[in-house]
Subunit: 399 residues, 2 copies
């Protein structure tokens, strides 16, 4: 019975044109790229090319390797996506022809990447061997290899895992060294990449940069609080903020460390997933003091602001991960609880915020909600969908 269902699904997918083999006639049609995006299918090493005007799937691209923790950045024209796979694979896909343009295995184990402000360079942060590699976005040729070396407790030179890699204004990258307790900036504006090192808190595990590219904030596994570097005055060094935020305060088992990229920065406030609590924290960005705790139904993973900063959408960790809650940013009250499917992994707003796309891995489903009515307006099948990435990210700093 299960086999017949699977066959039916396959046949339906073929009928719906969801296979990777588009006829050239179809894919050579002129079209804008501003409403396109990619949905990661984590179990099958494939991505769906989608469009957000009619909320439809245009095609599938296969052969991208291990996509279990994959993310995507875009070329500045919105045509090419750079997919960072867990297995160290960096794949450049063409959203117009729906095919792989180029692919390199650049390390043994990687954890995400970024594209430079001017679009010329793609950087990947690696666990093994620890460091950052920089590639030409056009050719995927290696242009810089930056090993994350440090002196360990035994006085030996070692290499650190790198995490929380983002792009910053002035054609720089910023990342953290998990083993070395440092934050590095990597300037790629000149002929040779230029590294500057800053001390940070213990064991940074992830990071974000604010939408204006000014504040780089790293979550810490080794101590309470977070480390923040002000890129307008980096010479002041990284400072501690939000003490009591981190794992020292936890009272429940932590099912999944929250993504820092999922912080909502809205109207001078940061809406932050509490680690190990059924709470969203609200911090005043002027002094990073804690203003409020909003009770929610589970441990938050992503806490995302709609583009108009009016709504805060929250996804949750196992075992309460089949629910999404929507908070009104003005009243800080939960205005709706939605059930988009089993194991909700990611949410992505359309650039002007009229809709939000939500992936439910264990329901093999992506659902599109209207942000005004909070009702579903479309949905489609996907193979264990995780991250959703629209091409409008090409136009934002730090995404």
């Amino acid at each position: 019975m299960r086999q017949r269902t699977a066959m039916l699904v396959v046949m339906l997918l073929v009928l719906l044109g969801l296979n990777g083999c588009q006829s050239p006639a179809t894919v050579s049609e002129l079209r804008g790229t501003g409403d396109l995006g990619l949905v990661i299918e984590r179990a099958t090493g494939s991505v769906l090319v989608v469009e957000t005007t009619g909320n439809s799937v245009l095609g599938r691209i296969e052969g991208l390797g291990d996509l279990s923790h994959a993310s995507v950045v875009y070329s500045r024209d919105g045509r090419y996506g750079y997919v960072f796979g867990r297995d160290g694979g960096l794949t450049k896909v063409d959203l117009l022809t729906r095919s792989i343009e180029d692919r390199v295995i650049q390390s043994g184990n990687s954890i995400g990447g970024a594209i430079s402000q001017d679009g010329r360079y793609v950087a990947v942060s690696n666990y093994e061997p620890g460091g950052v590699k920089v590639f030409d976005s056009e050719t995927l040729e290696l242009v810089a290899d930056v090993p994350a070396t440090y002196t360990n407790a035994q006085g030996e030179t070692a290499r650190s895992k790198t995490v929380g890699l983002v792009d910053a204004p002035g054609n720089r990258f910023v990342f953290s060294l998990f083993d070395a307790n440092e934050i590095w900036t990597l300037d790629v504006a000149g002929d040779t990449p230029d590294v500057t090192r800053y001390d940070a808190g213990k064991a940074p595990y992830d990071a974000l940069i604010t939408p204006d590219g000014r504040f780089y904030i790293a979550g810490l596994f080794g101590e309470d609080g977070l480390s923040m570097l002000d890129l307008w005055q980096p010479e002041a060094g990284a400072i501690d903020i939000l003490p009591g935020y981190g794992k020292g305060e936890q009272q429940l088992p932590v099912y999944k460390m929250p993504h820092l990229e999922g912080w909502a920065i809205a109207g001078g406030r940061a809406f932050v997933p509490a680690v190990g609590h059924h709470q969203v924290l609200v911090a005043d960005m002027n002094d990073w003091s804690l203003m409020e705790r909003i009770p929610v139904q589970g441990q938050p993973v992503f806490v995302m602001a709609s583009p108009d900063n009016r709504q805060i959408w929250v996804s949750f960790a196992h075992p309460r991960n089949d629910v999404v809650q929507v908070i009104d940013a003005r009243t800080r009250e939960i205005i709706r609880t939605l059930e988009p499917g089993k194991a909700v992994l990611h949410m992505e707003f359309t650039p002007r915020g009229e809709r939000v796309w939500i992936s439910a891995r264990d329901s093999n489903r992506v659902t599109v909600y209207d942000t005004r009515t909070l009702e579903p307006v479309a949905s489609f099948s996907a193979e264990k969908p995780s991250g959703i990435f629209f091409t409008s990210r090409a136009h934002s700093l730090g995404l």
Copy 2:
């Protein structure tokens, strides 16, 4: 001699492929639309299609009528530009084929437009006859005609000029009635458009909406200060802000009323062109109090923040309009004075802010500056260039 130069220019343009008649082979090439834009050539009724990766001109589209005060919005896929001409013409141009897709003369005299959050509707604000018309963005069919009627001082029903039309979250438009001293919201989310009227100050002449789509601010010609409507709580009505901002304070002849769309909103502060003064005003957005006055070299027209909020670029009114000044947003000091040519009319940042494009009408020139070095990196000829509009506007509220 002048004639021979003109002929040479034409021949060069033809050689460079800058004429409107591209061969189908050239224009049917697949390409992303995320790095495209349009430059208005105001005297010749034409637009240049440009790309910001190589800083080059791809082609010219002609036959758009009177473009002396033209602006552009984009379809959500970034392929089509909607050009609003002064003569009431609404022209839909295809940036990929570089041709006019459709064109309607929708009124006798218009002053700009906007596209709805979901991209379905294009609205135009008209002087004569006064009101707003809404068109289907796909077909340019008229879907709603909203006359701006009011009761005048003689007790008669009259129609007001409309100004300051912007899109707002929730699929709404907002605009001001110059003759009626009102601000209207127009909700196009349902089957029939729904108008709500709010009292405003005297003679609103232009308006802006903050980047998050929350605050609608109208400049007033009839009194000091501005009117502000908080769209998160419109029931509170429009309130007066920045008293002393407007014309009542002026001490110099005003050569050009500043564009309100040119306000820089950066880090909780608004950088505002002073009317009739050689100053940029800095206001605290929490209470709209005046924090500081920055002396500049002339009467500012556009005061624009770079996407990273780090720099404020200022253009000026006649007769000191051949200069652009750059202010450091942190120190509020002028860090550079540039001379991009005669009669600087507009500036547009690339979406992630690595470069800025500047048009100099009377030098027939567009120059591209690197925002880090503040040096020119490219320039090209254009016929009396004015507004520059990149397709990344498709992804922003209120642009």
